[in-house]
Symmetry: C2
């Protein structure tokens, strides 16, 4: 019975309203928290309507004290039929009207010692099926082990508050999803990512049946969750964002940097662009299906650089990123990471 | 019989050698011409081998006097079977070993009055089929009608030197191919583009059977060409590049510019990145199939900018680009374009 629509719990009658309220609340809470953190920049809001149904509110901060550019989106959209890219993953949704709501965010700090960060929590209903998806991941330029551990620790606690099996799968899924195959690099130090969570059993419903995340999920076995538990998961993870990110910013925001660090940051931001435009299914799907381009591309950095054949000097702080922090790591349990960081003279 | 492999002429026995010599010669000629034009920058060469078969030579200029960054690639690669993205277009190639050689180039001048330019000429053989493809297109930031006309005039003459029906189809195909659907804009003022030319008849073998280029080709009727004629087409168009581009650069290279023009150029370069990573089949195919990433991404600009919600002020020189020069135009025959440019106070 597992994974067939018949085995799905019926969502509560006010499910759409509930999730919409949650993600709008997250958008509000996160924007307020970020404005307080920045101390200078403010989010400007634009509301928009989608001709095919629904709309949203996009909030952008530009030229803040800390944030060079950042956007926090909310949207609630619906339509007659989901596009093939989603129906392929959820064939039961085929031919049914659908509803989706979510919040997504990318922040690009100016100081190269501050990591770029992304968050997205979303909910779909389509005929007999519904599911939650989401996650958050961190992309440092000059990485610090303690920051990576902090970000993962807070998100693990949020997942654990619902169920202890979740984090391992979602952490690994994040490494798998935010991966630039053409560079052989993860986008950053990861975080959590999950999709197609309908409570019916298998925690991993990604694209790679032979990958690490699939193996962990298989070893874990089927884990049934209620709609309310998955709602609570989105809430707990969404609320984990500020405590996961803001201490990192507070700690590092006054670190001085020069042209070298800025140049490296702009170069690495090029990777962010490459990931979002070449590999991110959400971005590509949005652009190819008449989404609101300006809101979708709010994720792109204010400035990015490409340089043919760049290689970080051996053992440099820049090489620390590519040698260690753009490969999947067991940040919370691998104690050898300290030693490895020290080789680059870059441990705190 | 048209378009079936059986109707294809057999290529000459030294076909691969001949095209390889042509495209290597084009790479040499263009690099020398550009170095002479720049007066300061030099191309640095890297040769590389492809583990699956073949290799190439990548040449890059960085921080020239005129060219902020530019690359001219040559490659000659072969393999056991073409990927689905190409086989879908040429089903007769399925299951056959293949050979491909070509040259490609993108130049990003520093001065915002100088247009970015792209060129690519290539040749495939796969079992019973072979074909030529290629083209060149111009992407201005602060556009001039006379420059657009010059670029098109030179490429039209090159096409006409082979056959008078070609240019109309290839010009229209270029507008269709270099189009950012998510922005509703062409990448620039176009030029020429053609693919899958095997001499068997239909000049247009693109993806849009209801588009303008398909209609023009259909109205033209079947045009058979010999291998030698298509070789001569690649040669004529490839050799048209320097006369098409260098006079534009010579005319404008000393025009002074400030922060406003530079900012707009960087913003528009963002569109170049978006096209190449989201829509360009060659780039996406290369990145998703273990191509040489650094050579493929030589096309990306040294610096690019994104800004949420930017709109060019009405009637500004910046709006001239989006109102007129990023829409398909009949540059050579539409005499109303002068008048339209004047509305922006931007005609020469």
């Amino acid at each position: 019975m597992e994974n067939t629509p018949n085995s799905l719990e019926l969502p509560p009658s006010n499910s759409r309203e509930k999730v919409k309220e949650l993600v709008m609340g997250l958008q509000d809470e996160i924007c307020s928290g970020l404005e307080a953190l920045d101390g200078q920049g403010h989010f400007l809001e634009e509301t928009w309507e989608r001709p095919e149904g629904g709309g949203g509110r996009s909030r952008v901060m530009q030229e803040g004290q800390i944030f060079e550019q950042g956007g926090v989106n909310f949207s609630e959209v619906h339509g007659d039929e989901l596009p093939p890219s989603i129906v392929n993953q959820r064939p039961e949704a085929k031919g049914h009207p659908w509803f989706a709501t979510g919040t997504s965010m990318v922040l690009h700090p100016r100081n190269p010692y501050l990591p770029t960060v992304h968050l997205n929590y979303r909910y779909f209903e389509a005929g007999p099926v519904w599911w939650f998806g989401g996650g958050a991941d961190l992309t440092p330029f000059y990485p610090y082990l303690e920051d990576a551990r902090h970000f993962h620790k807070v998100h693990k606690a949020a997942c654990d508050s619902i169920s202890p099996e979740l984090h391992k799968v979602f952490k690994s899924w994040c490494d798998e999803y935010f991966f630039l195959k053409h560079r052989g690099e993860t986008r950053g130090i990861g975080g959590i990512f999950y999709d197609y969570q309908d409570g019916s059993g298998n925690l991993y419903k990604g694209q790679n049946p032979n990958g690490e995340a699939a193996k962990i999920a298989q070893a874990t076995g089927p884990i049934r969750k209620t709609w309310n538990q998955l709602f609570a998961l989105a809430e707990a993870c969404g609320k984990a964002f500020l405590p996961a990110y803001t201490p990192i910013i507070k700690n590092r925001k006054d670190q001085e940097y020069g042209e070298r660090e800025r140049n490296f940051q702009l170069y690495r931001r090029g990777r962010y662009v490459e990931f979002n435009l070449v590999w991110d299914r959400g971005t590509i799907f949005g652009l190819q299906t008449n989404g609101r381009t300006e809101s979708i591309l709010m994720s792109l950095p204010p400035l990015a650089r490409w340089q043919y054949g760049y290689k970080a000097p051996k053992d440099s702080r820049e090489a620390l990123l590519t040698d260690l922090f753009t490969k999947p790591q067991n940040w919370l349990e691998d104690l050898s990471l300290e030693e490895k960081c020290k080789l680059h003279n870059a441990v705190n």
